[in-house]
């Protein structure tokens, strides 16, 4: 676990304060469920698979198996196109991981992108464009990663349609 007791120096009154530094690590498997399983399978075939509510017909991407409004099953799979619209975006100067906050070398472009035919949007990276060129309503298409593994990281990001 790599835990140790270390001393931290309190400069103000030159007194050593002992603190315990450790890392909590818990291995865990998340069973993704049939809906996300299908979604990952779609990624493997470079496809977006969403789900449709059996009652109101709302299409979810990322998919989920229940509609919040109807409290009904949303287990009908729908194949969606690879293009969408930027509903919202932000350009971040920081990389935030589970471990650290670090100043980013290049600004990170992040978009709330609604795939055509879906009623919900997902938060994904935007790539191959300049932060200054981003706008809401911009048409984008998915860029697949080089090695497809049936994993969320198969989505390298979204780029403007037409190189933008």
């Amino acid at each position: 676990m790599g835990e140790k007791i270390i001393s931290k120096i309190n400069l103000e009154d030159e007194q050593d304060i002992y603190v315990k530094r450790g890392m909590v690590r818990a291995e865990f498997d998340f069973w993704v469920g049939i809906v996300m399983d299908k979604f990952y399978e779609g990624l493997q075939n470079k496809q977006f698979i969403g789900t449709k509510c059996s009652k109101c017909g709302k299409v979810f991407l990322p998919p989920r198996n229940r509609c919040a409004d109807c409290f009904a099953k949303a287990e009908e799979f729908v194949e969606l196109p690879q293009t969408g619209v930027v509903k919202n975006f932000t350009v971040s100067n920081y990389n935030v991981t589970e471990r650290r906050v670090r100043k980013a070398k290049e600004p990170n472009m992040v978009g709330l992108i609604q795939i055509d035919g879906a009623d919900t949007a997902m938060v994904v990276p935007i790539i191959n464009t300049n932060p200054d060129d981003l706008k809401e309503g911009m048409k984008v298409k998915v860029v697949w990663a080089k090695n497809i593994k049936g994993h969320p990281n198969d989505i390298a990001g979204f780029e403007p349609v037409g190189g933008g």
């Binding site: 603190v19 350009v91 589970e98 938060v123 990281n153």
Partner: protein
């Protein structure tokens, strides 16, 4: 709703890196709250703790804090949301008729962990966590862009909220020293670095170490303890969907519903004119406006008007004054109670009779909770 009284409280002075162990900090807050009400540990019948396993680096984070929190050999439970939710648990326990005195406390020391990275663990592990683009900065940025676009609000208006908070902090003796900026200008906020566009550094409160404790009692008991209780006359809570892409980030439907429930219970028909003070926990200056508007304190998109007229918005400095995870919402409750008791030394809103206080958890305030408080005397 039967009245429940706030009869005592204590806020530990927040610091970036507090020279106290968790147990000293919690003990100081809990002991301080008891002393403020002239009570003893034996008077407590239930303790509601608000801490977080991830923030504490251990599971069942409350189990190791029993003695410090005054819970030894008593009914005790934990809520892992905001301190304001712990207050709701305390309220339920009092209203159940089973308890005469509830000690509520919220505590965290973000100097011991990385706040923003730990928030990543809040994300859906099957998709969002792997994409690693959602974090408090990017969500704050998108929320601000959505708000500005929907209502044609400019950056200056949002910067003004931050300026007022920093100025208010300078009058609040319990505000984080780093947030006391009496001479800050709108331009200073607009010149601060961009965390995630359009959100800037000075629109985002600094996570700091702290602990806040508050005591609740039933009406009769409250009157025996103090002749100056503050009454909780209404409370409402609402949970929004997790998915940011399902929500309209320019507004907060869950805050609106929570506030409406609280107002209904408290018999408030026109919050704009009836509420004197609003202590709102916004995770950014923009979110503070969105939540204040959702609580019907102003029209949507016009929240900046509260800086000049209407209910006083965050006279304590709001989340900027003490952004302690697990305690922020509880601190808002205590600040609102102080206003109603006339104890807000240096930032007292004269004649304050009714106040609201809010807490929240989740990205872009997924879950909101609102309390209506009234001065008793």
């Amino acid at each position: 709703m039967e009245k429940v009284g706030i009869v005592g409280y204590y806020q530990l002075k927040p610091e970036l890196d507090i020279m106290m162990s968790p147990y000293e900090a919690i003990f100081t807050a809990v002991r301080g709250a008891l002393d403020s009400a002239g009570l003893k540990r034996k008077d407590i019948t239930t303790v509601v703790t608000c801490t977080n396993d991830y923030y504490d680096g251990k599971t069942i984070s409350n189990c190791f804090k029993v003695e410090a929190g005054g819970a030894y050999m008593k009914d005790e439970t934990k809520v892992e949301l905001d301190g304001a939710h712990a207050a709701a648990y305390g309220l339920y326990r009092i209203l159940s008729g089973n308890h005469k005195l509830a000690m509520i406390y919220g505590f965290s020391t973000p100097s011991c962990y990385f706040y923003e990275p730990v928030r990543i663990l809040e994300l859906d592990p099957t998709f969002d966590r792997t994409m690693s683009v959602i974090n408090p900065y990017t969500t704050g940025g998108m929320q601000m862009r959505a708000y500005m676009k929907a209502f044609g609000v400019n950056e200056e208006d949002i910067a003004k909220v931050a300026v007022q908070n920093y100025k208010n902090c300078s009058k609040n003796s319990l505000a984080l020293p780093e947030a006391k900026k009496p001479d800050i200008s709108v331009q200073d906020v607009l010149d601060s670095e961009i965390l995630s566009s359009p959100l800037r550094r000075l629109m985002y409160p600094i996570p700091c170490d702290g602990a806040t404790a508050m005591i609740l009692a039933p009406e009769r008991q409250s009157l025996k303890i103090t002749d100056n209780p503050v009454w909780i006359t209404g409370m409402g809570q609402c949970q929004e969907t997790y998915y940011l892409g399902d929500r309209d980030l320019s507004i907060s439907v869950s805050m609106e519903k929570a506030a409406e429930k609280a107002y209904k219970r408290a018999g408030i028909n026109d919050p704009k004119s009836e509420i004197d003070v609003a202590e709102i926990f916004g995770h950014t200056s923009c979110e503070e406006l969105i939540l204040a508007e959702a609580a019907h304190l102003s029209e949507k998109g016009k929240g900046a008007i509260l800086l000049d007229s209407g209910p006083a918005l965050n006279p304590s400095g709001g989340a900027m004054s003490a952004f302690t995870p697990c305690a922020s919402g509880l601190t808002r409750l205590v600040e609102a109670a102080k206003q109603l008791r006339g104890e807000a030394d240096g930032y007292q809103i004269s004649g304050a009779k009714k106040a609201i206080a809010s807490g929240q958890v989740g990205f872009c305030a997924q879950n909101n909770i609102v309390f209506v408080l009234e001065g008793g005397g």
